[in-house]
Structure formats: structure tokens, C-alpha cells
Symmetry: D3
Subunit: 308 residues, 6 copies
């Protein structure tokens, strides 16, 4: 069960409205790597966690924090689209070339007009507020969430999501000079720093519990006679630039003692595919080199009437 | 530019048709973590890579291999739905309880009928072949692909995708006793093993190039006065199970010398949000404690006609 | 900011695993009218609410409760797919014709096998747990959420969502005889009862604050000379069954004193559309009754090369 | 069966092309609450209606009118993107600050260029015409439509959709000074007025047929011992602003004689969830406090090969 | 404007309920190539048609007929899920092996139970009626519709959609022995026959108006020095099976007098791509052969704070 | 299996960065009719082709070429967003009114800023690179791909896709004066010319193999007593403009000797639909002319508790 505290976890309001920035912040809210994604992902992983209690609780505590981040960003976007004094905004646009260029030299403080020109749905649908979608207006999708039941696989995805998420937040941070927005984003970027570290630590803890524990699922090792496929890099491009990387040369990181091998111009090991004829009731095109004399090329089961 | 070799990279045909298994294999083909996803992801990362040539080439070589994996799985699914001798299938269903249970004791070899009963679209739309969708028939989405331009962030996502992908392949491997399918899947599971190792090696190489290099983007460090937010675990649940994990106790893995700290019952640091009134032309509900005497509660700019 | 309590708001575990029921419960979790939808909708409406504080707080309190409902359903689905004693399940299937029929007479307690046969993604992707999608495996979409900034419009949508939601929960309730599941669903159905009442009360309160206050947005009345379009029912089908309903006969519910009117066989009031030629650079097909002698039918601006 | 009349139901052409406005109108055409949504929703509810004939016919008559609204908006959008005299448009932009600001001071009449700069797909894909998508270019989705078979639930959703729809049309109305567009939109806003009234009347008629008839589905009352959950407001936020609303204080609107009750700081009634181990063939992470001596932490059923 | 006739264009009710068939019919209703797609596509092409009036009217007349096909299929699906006498259904299942196999030997006439076991959303969401989605429950998407403004391009797509549509209808026709369903589908298959012919005739008429008129857009011919790329088949696979087809050998069908040419093992004509460094504010990974001594590898513009 | 050649098939780099053009090119890359669509469609059709080897190989050779087109467009988009000298871009914008108008008179060469103002996700998510989505940021969908197993149906769709694709490429070609971009696009437009011809030739070859071979599936002819429905044009609009087209007058193109017929004001042939009551456990609204005396209107099976 959850409870709500009316205060935000951290927040400094924007100095000035800026619909362009509000649109950019939608990516951090409802994009693939945004706060809704990590909120739902950590909560779903936590709600269904069969591992030790400390994993379940950790997932739910961070997931709970992320609900608050959705709250912070929703607040920020709403305030970035409220009316603000005309003069202040103009002054800012003039004194700062970066912001000025983004704003296209417009001298209106009306964020509604900016929205109408740039992302009309945030005005028409959301009345000047955020939506559960990304900065292109594409809706957030439940398909962005993974909770596989395998914590090592999932924590790696969490680490990946936080890496993309902090990267995106830093990019948005660079799109504004608004001190309020920058302060709020800075807090979130620091929390993303912590969360990256956190999943990194958790991943390392899980890896160290298994032997060799780096390949998910750890219970499944090599198949009889197929071990060599697990260490060969198939060189399928001309040139060999890729042959010198850590992934193609030197010991494999699974502590197996095996070394990577770079295969130059490897041969295909399988056959050219052959198919049996399909079910005639599906009317697929079957193999037939030429047209028969009677014009009938397929045996049909009779369920459909013969041609007139 | 690409070239095609008519042979498959590796392949053993199924012993017997099995539409249920064909549907399961759709997850490996067109699911979020399936072969279409990794194919498109590695190709897009490679096509746009601004890093050293070895990264670009490595990405494109693996991406090229993945096109071949899409080919293998498409072949497998098509063959799993072609007609096969009745007796053989029945014998298998009877002798193997796992398969028998999945098949529901059906004694028909007609994969078309199974499809019609389970996933009609694979019969009606694809004529007994694969679709670019997952095992629920949800279409694959371009939103599954990330190519951010930041290789460390992207390689972590690649590692995450391969971890989920091998996990899923192993689960499907356990759903059948067909020796042909098992042999083909075993090859793919071994290649997934290799790819997990491979991204792991690449991630470690990139991390070792920076200092501290584990937090993406590495160029951005801490913000003035906000460093503490990067190492505190906010305990937002009752109980402290999560306080004992590697993420909440001990040194942070960024080699900064900082230690994690578990905050028990932390207080919110932000205010209760306040909003200015929105643009009246958007007809949002404004704050108003009670209804005014004249029935008019909002100043409208006059563009719309007054009420009758 | 949010906090988590490790206990569930209410819960009785299922007596027995049942993958079919787990799939049905996905509709209540991640369908258009499921718990994720109302959770996100109330939270987003609350986070951005510019109305009186009591509305904001009410939205956030109910939204917070709904996070707990997502937790309950996720727990339920996970437990419906865990292993359970064979004998108990079989006994149930035999003694209860409804459940027996749904289960197809299967005598296996293995929910994993049921999943593999019915909704493979819940086994392959989620490892026997819930997903953020509906009972067909279609992902939940952020487009399901509305937070328009106009509380009367939004509360009506909330009432509609709760009406559909309780209806769906009652339908699922009827699909099982498991006393644990029924007890948990009964609690949720009662809460849905309360939430329907609650939005109904809130809608009535908002309607009573305006005059006439039933048509959103209330600030906009009739347009000069167009008032009659607001009370006429256009009879566009043969027959006049619809002429006798409350919507076509009697006083309109806006307290305007106007009465509805049923128009039988109304005439179109507009013209046949005419279009100017489009931009030739877009190569649309322009109006041309016949082919000119020289074979050139469109003036092109010259940006593209002439035909050879 | 349907028939078409070449004339539009009502229409005044735009005075001048305006691609920005055309994009905004896409929300009214193909957005979640646009004309395609209500058209499809009323038609589907009507096609499948099992209630009294008057409901079926009413649904189909309004649904049929809505096809004509899709026609009107498609005509409008197409005309908003056709070429028009340069001088007229410039004059308008200069004399009207609102329009001028939206247009960014551009003095070109070329709607194609505006589209290319703002919503390229309407030029590239649709050749200067509308698409079946919203103002962000997100495709309309069949998931927007509900036809549940329960008319009270569906009519409430219809009322909600018309409320959002009229709100959005009024917002777009405020974005232009084009007298043609305003006249056409005014007609549609009046029809939306009528449709809101109409569903309101239908909802009230249905509610009055049952006792108590306000909670869907009306056939289902309270569960033994759980009635109290139907009238309690769970106060899950700090503070009690929400305690004073109609939803938390006073008689419930179901005519049951029960009163709402506000629960301050309510306790969770359920347990902390516990899960049985999952099927080992799914390779989920099981509860295990520490690593066993032999490095093997999970009993696997043997279907997969042991680790090397 | 549209009008509705209460009678269906053509219809014979099903002899017996059959939820499996109802699910299959969803593909014909709401799949990519279903009736909703062609209805919306022809209407949108007609609403926006700038070509001669006969094209516009033809599009709208067929589009209007398709609304009636959506009505017929919705009626069919609803009736396929209504209750029917138990005995009749059992008799049918026993006497007909095809139907019996699909039904899995179930002896219940309760289509609701079948739905609950196969496509729960049609019971839970739609109350035993159709949805605007395909046979997998994936929602219909506005992205399926094309109305490009170029009639030749669009008519070709119409022909393609009708080809797939009739193919799918024939496949569903083969899945049942219900005489009512077969009679209704037979009518639709005949109408699909007519529509294929119809678009074929329209395509040929448009092609004959231009010279050479087969390549869209016809206004654009060859580019200086690039004509040869328009007739060469690039042989990018090993082997030359494809060299003998009409597409690689003989005169091109554009009446240009040019012949196709098969290029065996063609060489790439372009360079290896090179990228300039990206904007440092986006934190992409730049080309850098080795790690600099000071650990700083990127010049950042200073907007973000230096690392601690 | 596939192999990669590091060189592009053909390529001339852009003279200057242009984020607006980069966004437009996204439609050619990841739109419904873009290169990802044809790549995936031809590959899937080829991977599963059961027809003669020459069809399979032809499909895979063209599909393989299309992977290279995805590569070319990805390269182009990435280069269109890299930094370029300020002066050059400004000069271009000033000297060319078309480009100048699109650019809105901006004098900055920073493509990043343009992106931030127009399509922020390409900066924030993709770091100044392409995404697998269209020019509105909507993700590419696997639902765009058809591989039905029937080659005539599929080749017609291929022809339709290439027709739309070349049309779109020509439109984008007209949006720029950059000689590099124009040269690269010209190559692609020529290849699209070849591909249109190619599918046209293949379609004609397949049609000539059957008799009458123009209606898919060719195995299914007319149904007893329903042949007339295959040649009648139902005139469902007022007026008879459509009666004079090739589709309504003259011989049908199926070589059957039948002629088209235009039906003026045709009558519906079916009944008004009637539905049996639905399953009461689904709580649909049943037909009931008035409210019974006891307030109970539906017989429920007893699974749910009676109302209090």
C-alpha cells in the first residue's frame, strides 16, 4: 500500500515559462527511458520479486521514489506552460543566445502560443499540462517495462535504463539557462547518478554469487559439442577493424579460461532452407515451375467451390 | 551495402510440426528482446557510430549476423507450421508428457487447426508463416531500439537485451522435446552466450577508459552542493531490509571514495506545488473556493461568445 | 513524494493456481480500464490540478490508493501462476463444471504449461508474472490517460472508467470459483463501487457550481444564430424508434428551457466540397477530365528534372 | 447499410490556408476524443446493441452523423493546406496579433512550406491532406473505442468523450481568427453541446430505471461483510483537504441511505505478499539468503544440460 | 453527409455460436486488411480527392458500402457469441471433424466459456461482442490508412488491400462448416472479387492516361546520368536463380524501350561513411583511439559543471 | 546468412547540415512506406517463400539491397545533423527562398538547436541521429509488413509500397536545394523506379500464369448463385458521376466475359439484425421495454451476490 506526502521530494520552480523546454521535458517524463518507465519497471519487478526480501524491498523503495519523480516532472512541465510576465521572458531571450535561438526570436511570453505552434496536443488535449507520452507525442507503452523474474537480467536492464535516462536529462539540462529548471534537473541527474551506481552494485553482487555468473541465465551452461560457438566472433564484414577489441581477442569474461577467437570470412554452417507445401486451404503460392495445361495448379480440399 | 548467402548460418529442421511452439518462437523473433530488436539496434548503432572504427565495425558485424538469426527463426516458424505425417506427431505427444500436456491430447497433425484455435492471425494473415510481432500478436515496435550516440549507454542496453534474449530462448527450449528445434535453439543460445560476453567485455573496456567511468555520461560529474544526493539511498518503505545490500552500504562503485548511506524515513525537501492560473482560452478549472454571485467564474479573453 | 507500506491494502491468496484466470486478470491490471489506467489518470490529474486544493488532494489520495491496487493485482497474478499441489486443482476442476469447462478437462496443475498453451509471453517474457498489458498481450498505452485541466470533463471520464472497470471486474469474478480470488476481487469491486459514487458526487458538485453547468466547457454558450443546432436530433436512419427517447423529446437537461426536437429526414446544410489544386511539388492527382494531346497534365515548378 | 449525400452537413470554407491550424484540427479528427473516435464508438455500440430498439437506433443515427463530421473536418484540413493568395494571408497575419504570433511573422502563403517545417508527414505522406492520426502524428487506435454491451457504462463514456471533444474544439476555435473556420467549428461545437445533453439525458433515463441504479453493473450489489468498503474514503495523504468534499462527507448518491466516511491514516488490511518458488524451467531468481558451497543454487528439472 | 438503412446489405445468421470463429472474424473486421481499414481508406481518399469528380464519387460510394460491411461483420461476431441450444452445437462438433478438432472436443455450447479460454478480452471488455482490433486483440491503427493525394499510388494500395482481404476471407471461410456464416462470407468474398476488379480497372485507366504512366509519380522521369540505375537488378545473393524472371530479363514494362539487366556481384558505388564530431552538449562517444593522460576526452561547452 | 560491405551502395554527403530535412528524411527511413518497411517486407516474404526458387531469391536480393538503403538514409540523417560552418549555411538560406522559408530565417548553423525546437527526441534520445520512427516520431510498426504466403497478393502490396515510397522520396527531394542530398535521393528515386517496374513485371508474370488470374486467391471462383455480386457497382451516393468509369461500365478485367453494371439506388438485401440475450454473467443491457415492478430486470446465474 502507498501513501502520499504533499511536498515534492525536491523542487525549484522555473524562472520563466518555456513551452519548448516543456516539450523536451516530456521525453524525461514519458519517453522510453523516462520516469514513468523506471517507476513502472521497478514497481512491477518489486511486486513480483521471488528473490530474497532485500531485493524486493530495494526495488519497491526506489520504485516509490520514482513515483515522486513523475510528480516533480509533471509539476515542472505544468509550470513551464503557465503565463508569466512578458518583460522577464524577453529579457532572457535577448541576453542568452542559446535560448534566444531556440525561441526563434519570438517576443511573446505566451507559452500557449508556443505550444500551439509546436506541440498542439499539449494545449488542446492537456490544457497546458503534461501528457503520458514522449517529446514527439507518442504515447508511453507498457512494452517498455521488463520484469522477467530473473533479477540479474532485470538489474542489467535497470542499469541500461538509468544510463540512457541520465544521458537524456543531461542533454535537456543543456537546452536551457533557466536557473530553476537547472536546479531541479541537477537534483534528478544526481539521483540518476546514484541509481546507476546502485544497479551497478546490485549487478556485481548478483554476478559474484554465481560461478561463472555473468551469463544469464546462470543455470544454463554449454551444450554438448557447441561450446565453440560461445567464444567465436563471426567476422561478417570486409576488413578486420573489429578483430582488435576486447570482445574478439583475449580471455572471455566468464572466468572459463576460454579465449575469444575472431573468425575471418566464416562459412555458413546450415543448409539452404526447403519448405513442404503448405495447407492448401490457406491458398499460399506453391512451388510450380510452369502452368499446367488445365489451368488448375493446386489441390484444394474441396471446402471452397470450384471455379466457374 | 549487404550481401546474402543462400545458406543459413546454422540449422536443424524440426522433427514435427507444432503450432504452439511456432507461436512461442514468435517471441524470440518479434518480441521486445527478440532477434528483430537486436538486429535493428546493432545496425542503427553501427550506421551512426562516431566512435573509433573498431566499435562501428564490431556493431555492424554482429548486426549482420543477427539478420541471419531473423532468417533462421523465420525458417523455423514456417517449418513448424507445415504439414507432417500424422503418426509421428501422435507418437511423440503420447510418449512425452510435457509436450502432450501442451498439445492438450490432440491427435491431429494439422498445425493449421492448432493455429486457428490459438493464434488465428498466423493462419489468416501469414498463411502459416511468421509475423513481425511477438507471441501475443502485438507488432514489433521501432521504439524498442536505442541508438543514443553514447556507446557506454548503448552497450549496457545491448547487454541487457542479450540477457533477456538468452533467458527467453532457454525458456522456449524447455517447452519442447523436438530434437531439431532443440538443436537449432541450442546454437542460438550459445551465440547469445557469446554476445552477452561480448558486450560485457566492451562495456568493461569503455568503463576502463574513463575515470570515474561507470556513470553515463562520464563527462558530467557532480553539481555544486548536490553531491550528497548521489550516494544516499532513500528508505521510503517501512522496515529496513534494503539497508543491507551492496547498494546501500559500503563504498560506491565509482571509485570516488564515497560510501553509500541509507536514509531511514527521509523528509521531503521540496514545497507543496503551486500553480498560476492557466490561459483562460484553454478553459481549465481554476482555483475558486465558491461560486460567485453573478455565475461568471472566469475571465475569458473574449474570443469566444459570452454565454446566452 | 510517496511512501510504501509493505502490507497490501487487502488480500486473500488464491486457493489454487489458474493461468487462465491470471490472463483474465491482466485485463483488470493493464487493460484500457484497468488499475494502471486509473492510477496514472488520477495521479496526472492531481499533479497538475489548478482547481481548489480539495480537488487536488482528493485526486492524489485516490490515485495513491490505486497504486496499491496495481500491487494487489500483480500479487494475485503472480500467485495464480505459481506451482500448487496437483490433487487439489484436479478436485476443483472435477467438482465445478464452470471451471472444468474453462480448463478443458486438463488434469495438470502446471500453470506454466497452461500459459505456454494460451499466453506464452507471460511465461517467456515475464517468467510467470504479470505484464503491463491487457489480456490479449497488447501493451498498456499512455494514450488511455486524460488529464485535460478541466475537472468536470475529467471527472466524467473518471466516472466512465470506473463504470467500465467495475463491470469488467464483475465479469472476471464470474469466471472463477476460487474463494481466495473471489474474496480479493470482491474487495476491489466494493472499492470500485465507492469510486463510482465518489466521482458521481464530485461531478454533481461541479455541475451545481455553474449555470447552466452541465455542458463542458461551461464558459462557452451558444453562438449567434446557431442555438438551434444544440437541441435538434438529426434522424439519419429510416424509421423513428429513436424519436421517443429522453434525448429527442422533452426538455433539455441544461435548464435552458429549450426542448429537444427530432428532425425527420433532415437535409444537408452544406455544399459539395470543392478543392483548389494542390502544390504541384507534391504530385497529387489534379482534376483533369481527359488526357491532353502532349501527354503533360501538370505544371510542375521545375525543381525536379523533366521526364526523359 | 449506409448511403452518402454529396453535400456536407454544414460548412463554411476557410478564408485562408493555415497549416498550423490544419495540424491543430488533426486532434479533432484523429485524436483520442476526435470525430473518428465517436464515429467508431457509436457505430460499434449500435451495431451490437442488445437493448431496446430505441437505444440501438439512437446510437446508429448519431454514429451516422459523426461520419459526416469526419467528412467535414477532412474537407476543412484539406482546404487549410491548399494554395491561397499571398496578399490576403499576409494582411491577416499583420492585422491580428494572435494569428501573427502563431505564424511567427512568416509572410508566405505556402501552406506546404509550413507543413514541411512543422508536420512534414502531412506533406510527405498525405500530400497536403489529413491523416487518421492526432496533432502529433500518432495514429488513431482502435483501443480508443469502448462498446461493452452495458449501455449505462457506455453512455457514461460517450458523455465523457463528448465533454473532452467539445473542450478541445473550443480550444482550437480560440487559435484562429479565420471566419470560415470559426463558423464551421461553431456548428460542430453546437452539435457537441447537443450530444453532451443527449448522453446526459440517456444516462439519467437509464439510471432512473434501476434502484439503486447509479453503480454499474446495477445487478451487483454489496458482498457479505464488505459493504463498508463501498463508502469509506481512504485518506492516504497527509492533511485532510479532501475530507470536506461531497465525496467524503454526507450521503452517498446511491440512495442507499449510507453516508460517506473519511478514514484518516487508515491501516493496511492485507499481509506482506509471499510467493512460492516459480517453475525452475523459467529460471527466475528464487529466494536464497546466501550462495551455497557447491555454487549450485537451483534445482532444475533436467530439461536443459548441466553446466560444463 | 451519410444516412443509415436499418437493414443489412446482405446477411444470413450463423447456425450456431462459435467463439473461435468469432475471434477469426475479428481479423476480417479490425485487422490491417479488414473492413475498418478499407472503409477508412476509401472514405479518406474520397473526402480529400482533388481528381475528377468521378474518382471522388466512386471512392465515396465504395467507402460507404464498406461501412455496411463493418456492420455485417459486427453483427456476425455478436451472434457467434450469443447463447445457443446445447444439443445442436454438440451434434455439429461430433459430425464434423474439422470443427470438432478446432473446438477441441468441448461439449459446451457456451461461447462465453470459449472466449474466456481463448480471447478473454472479448468477454471481459466487449461483453461478448466485437472490438476494433484484429484476431490477436491488437487494436486497429490509423497508420493502416493511406490517402496520399496521388490516385495511382492509392489505387494500387487499394488493390493490394482487397487482394489480401479476399485471401483472408477465403481462409476464414475454410475454417467453418456453419452454413449461415459461409453464406454471409460468400457474399463478402464476391464483393471483394468485385472490388479487386474495380481497382484493377481504375489502375489501368489511370496508367493509360500517362506516357509512360506506370511509375508513380508519373511527372518525374529519370535524372541526368542516373537512368541506368532504373533498369539494373542488383544480384546481391550467391547464385543467379533470380536472373531468369521477368524483372531481370527482357523489356521493362514502362514502354521506354529499355531492357532490364541483371548485375552479377555488383560493386558498391559509395564510400565508407565518415562523420564529423557531434555537438559535445549531446555527450555522444567521439572517435578517440586511446585515453588521454588527463582523463578528459571531450571538449564540453561549459554549460554543465566540470567533474568534481 | 548475410555479409556486410563497409562501403555504401551509393552516396553523396550533404553540403550543409539541415535538421528540418533530417526530420523529413525520417519518413523515408521509418515511415509506413519507408526503407525499413520494404526491407523487412521483402526479407520476410523471401525467408518464408514456398514458390519457385526464382521468386525466393529475387525477394531476398532486393530485400538485401534495401538493408543498404536503410544504411544510406541513416548515414544521411546523421550527417544532416552534424555541426557545419556557420557562414555557408547562412549564405544558402539567404540565397534560396525555398530553404530560407523553411528555415524561418534562422541564422544559426546549429542543427542541434533546430532539432531541439522541432523534433527534440532526435537530439535527446538519439543524440543527433536517426530513430526507427517516422517524421512525426511515431515508431515503426511490425504491422506495416505483410508476408501472406500468396505471392500475387504480396507482390501487389510491394508495388503499392514502392509507389508510395517513390512519391514520398520525390516530395522530400523538392524540399531541399542541397546538391549532395539531391544526388543521394536521386539515386534512391531511380532505384524506386526500378523496383516499381520490377514488381509490375512480377505481378504481370503471375497473373499470366492463371486463368482468370487477376483475382486473389485465384483458386477461388464464384459461389453458386452469387456471381452477380462480383460485377455490380452499388451506387450508394446521390448522383451518378461514378457510373461512367472503367469500374462501372464495360467488360470486367477478369476475362470472364462479364460486364460491370452500375446499380442506381440499390435496395438492402439483408434483414434488420436481431440478437439473442447475451450471457447474464456478462451484465450486458438486455432488451426490456420498461422497468419491472420488483426492480429486478435480469436473471443472473447466482454466481454474484444478490443486491442488498
Amino acid at each position: 500500500m502507498f501513501r502520499h506526502d504533499k511536498r515534492l521530494q525536491y523542487y525549484t520552480p522555473p524562472e520563466s515559462p518555456d513551452a519548448h523546454l516543456a516539450v523536451a521535458c516530456q521525453e524525461l517524463l514519458g519517453g522510453h527511458y523516462g520516469e514513468v518507465s523506471v517507476m513502472m519497471q521497478y514497481l512491477m519487478q518489486g511486486f513480483t520479486c521471488k528473490g530474497a526480501p532485500k531485493y524486493r524491498d530495494m526495488l519497491l523503495e526506489i520504485g516509490t521514489e520514482e513515483i515522486g519523480h513523475v510528480e516533480m516532472l509533471s509539476t515542472l512541465i505544468t509550470q513551464l506552460m503557465a503565463k508569466a510576465p512578458l518583460e522577464e521572458k524577453d529579457a532572457m531571450a535577448k541576453s542568452n543566445p542559446l535560448v534566444g535561438a531556440i525561441m526563434g526570436g519570438k517576443n511573446s511570453s505566451e507559452a500557449t502560443l508556443e505550444l500551439a505552434a509546436m506541440m498542439p496536443s499539449m494545449a488542446i488535449v492537456a490544457g497546458g499540462g503534461p501528457r503520458v507520452s514522449d517529446s514527439s507525442g507518442s504515447p508511453w507503452s507498457g512494452a517498455f517495462v521488463i520484469a522477467s523474474g530473473n533479477l540479474l537480467a532485470d538489474f542489467r536492464d535497470n542499469l541500461a535504463k538509468e544510463s540512457q535516462g541520465r544521458l537524456q536529462a543531461c542533454r535537456v539540462y543543456n537546452m536551457t539557462d533557466d536557473r530553476g529548471v537547472k536546479d531541479t534537473l541537477a537534483f534528478m541527474i544526481e539521483r540518476d547518478y546514484e541509481h546507476q551506481l546502485h544497479w551497478l552494485a546490485a549487478v556485481r553482487e548478483l554476478e559474484s554469487l554465481e560461478e561463472p555468473g555473468v551469463v544469464v541465465p546462470v543455470e544454463v551452461g554449454h551444450f554438448e559439442g557447441k561450446e565453440r560457438f560461445a567464444y567465436d566472433f563471426w567476422g561478417l564484414s570486409n576488413g578486420t577493424d573489429a578483430a582488435t577489441g576486447a570482445w574478439a581477442d583475449g580471455p572471455a569474461p566468464d572466468d572459463s579460461g576460454n579465449a575469444f577467437r575472431y573468425l575471418k570470412e566464416p562459412e555458413a554452417l546450415g543448409p539452404v532452407p526447403e519448405f513442404a507445401p503448405g495447407d492448401p486451404r490457406l491458398f499460399g503460392t506453391q512451388k510450380r515451375p510452369k502452368k499446367p495445361a488445365d489451368g488448375k495448379t493446386t489441390e484444394v480440399d474441396g471446402a471452397l467451390p470450384a471455379k466457374a
